[in-house]
Amino acid sequence: MTVQLTDNRRVIYRRPDALQDKSTHYCPGCGHGIVHRLVAELFDEMKLTGRTIGVGSVGCSVFAYEYFKTDFVESPHGRAPAVATGVRRVQPDKFVFTYQGDGDLAAIGTAEIVHAAARGENITAIFVNNGIYGMTGGQMAPTTLLGQKTTSSPLGRDPVLAGYPVPITEMLALVPGTAYAARGSVATPQLVGRAKSLLKRAFELQEAKAGFTIVEILSNCPVGWGMTAPASMEHVEKDVIGTYPLGVLVDRAKAGPESK
């Protein structure tokens, strides 16, 4: 390996500019890092970094403001869609996204996400669903699979006591204010690529002021699930997707019937 050669090489992939030069606090193999990267790649590609105001949430991604080269505001747990609404309404030409976990978006923040969607706010919710409360130590989330053991469902989630996984993105897709709702995953390289294109469509629709957009990303929590990172990704692919089917749930900006 010589320095000369390096200089001549043509880069086909490199760390996106929109990311700060820091290593993240995420556990090894955590999907949050992948999603961050995809978002940052799109910021680069769509030249959004300078026009973006990010809206953080409370969860493992609470430090997202450390990683993106965009302005950022922190929200109370679950309230990011309301905070983003406030930002976007007074800064109508900015690109505004929330970055939320499943505890944040699908539990405590249910009302805020539903009504941001109902109002058709021109914001994009990036919804990282790892089926668990990562940050607080791996408790059950509304999205936790039936039978899944967590620190607050030690015998596995029992629907009689703890109910059923919440298909929140499907619910949001029903609302006319939702321009676009889709579910992707970062479980495999292929799915990572697909997830990026879902995010891209959402970002484009926000730019077109088409209304509320959300992309759910099925991700992992190797630490909370007690698995190695590769095993956790396999679990997403083999088991989680069964409960949360991937695809575009609604794309109201498209002509013709809604694709699913």
């Binding site: 300078g50 505001v73 309404r89 109002r119």
Partner: protein
């Protein structure tokens, strides 16, 4: 009585409902965005904003809840916009977490609480029973926010501009503490509104435009030492506010034997009692805090030196009276008269309490 008076002779005042007057004053003070949720007795603020803000090309949102409203306010305020939120007691309780975040992340915002009787769903009658909440312990953590308490609709109008000014000068939420009486009554208002100058800011989120470092508005400081430092900064700011921003008013205090300490509607009732008392030879004066935090501690001490006693009157079971006692520290007898649940004390009850204080 002046049956001869004609429209021409009248000063240019208009009758306005307190809620509407505060809302219009906020608009005239350059409020960029309003977020609210209906609740009695302040729904007219929301309703006026629903009509007027779009007319002015500004932002109005009826949020899905008070939680939604306060957090929309957090977002809008984080960009540097001038933001108003209003609610009444139960709705204010729901905003405790958001207020703590806003105080912690130092974003300016004005919140009106048109108080009603509590606890719980309570009544919709006028009350001052959220004094402790506003002044001491609404949200968690070590923070204070300036609290302004108007006693008339005209004053409420003037204080709206002051509230925005304070909020921006100190990067802090500010509470305007009114009650059902002030919200629902109509009184003359001179439309001499004020639109405070905008300050230069270097903290608010407007996107980097590729020209500066990213900015972050947050209350998180995970390392306790860092948070302690932030708290030290906040406390220094609070001390500065306490030193500079105390507001109060007095009436006929110089020759008074008895000083009634009261704010807002209670001070209005006290004024009637004072007049009746004076007409019967009872020398009553009034000390009226306008900032409830910072409380006019030194000013109260100075104003009451050598008096026979203090009567604190509140539409509550006794809340501000603690701040009065903290100021007085046993130097004078401090009495209390309160009515709760949406009931107003009558001027005669107040007078009677004063009379008892001077009775042997």
């Amino acid at each position: 009585m002046s049956a001869m008076a004609t429209t021409q002779l009248a000063p240019k005042r208009v009758l306005m409902k307190g809620n509407e007057a505060m809302a219009e004053a906020a608009i005239q003070a350059g409020c960029d965005a309003y977020f609210g949720y209906p609740i009695t007795p302040q729904a007219e603020i929301l309703e006026l904003m629903a009509r007027r803000m779009p007319e002015e090309g500004r932002v109005f949102i009826q949020a899905e809840s008070e939680l939604g409203a306060i957090n929309m306010a957090l977002g809008a305020a984080a960009t540097g916009a001038r933001v108003l939120v209003s609610s009444s007691s139960p709705g204010i309780s729901l905003m405790a977490e958001g207020m703590s975040y806003m105080a912690g992340s130092e974003v300016p915002m004005v919140l009106i609480n048109v108080m009603r009787g509590g606890p719980g769903l309570g009544s919709i009658g006028p009350s001052q029973s959220d004094y402790f909440q506003a002044v001491k312990g609404h949200g968690h953590g070590d923070y204070k926010v300036p609290v302004l308490a108007p006693a008339s609709i005209a004053e409420a109008v003037a204080l709206m501009a002051d509230a925005f000014e304070l909020a921006e000068r100190y990067r802090t939420p500010v509470i305007v503490l009114a009650d059902g009486t002030l919200g629902q009554a109509m009184e003359p208002v001179s439309p001499a509104y004020r639109d405070p100058a905008r300050l230069q800011t270097d903290w608010n989120l407007t996107s980097t435009n590729g020209e500066r470092e990213p900015r972050v508005v947050r209350s998180l400081h995970l390392r306790p030492e860092e948070l302690q430092e932030h708290n030290t900064h906040l406390q220094a700011k609070f001390a500065q506010i306490a030193e500079r921003e105390v507001r109060f008013a007095t009436e006929r205090i110089e020759d008074a034997d008895i000083v009634i300490v009261a704010y807002g509607t209670a001070a209005r009732i006290a004024r009637t009692a004072m007049e009746r008392g004076r007409s019967k030879g009872l020398r009553i004066g009034i000390f009226r805090p306008i900032t409830l935090w910072p409380f006019p501690t030194a000013e109260l001490v100075a104003a009451t030196e050598g008096k026979r006693g203090i009567l604190t009157v509140e539409l509550s079971s006794g809340q501000m009276v603690e701040d009065v006692r903290l100021a007085i520290e046993g130097r004078l007898p401090v009495h209390f008269l309160g009515r709760q649940g949406g009931v107003l004390p009558s001027p005669n009850e107040v007078l009677e309490a004063c009379r008892k204080m001077v009775a042997p």
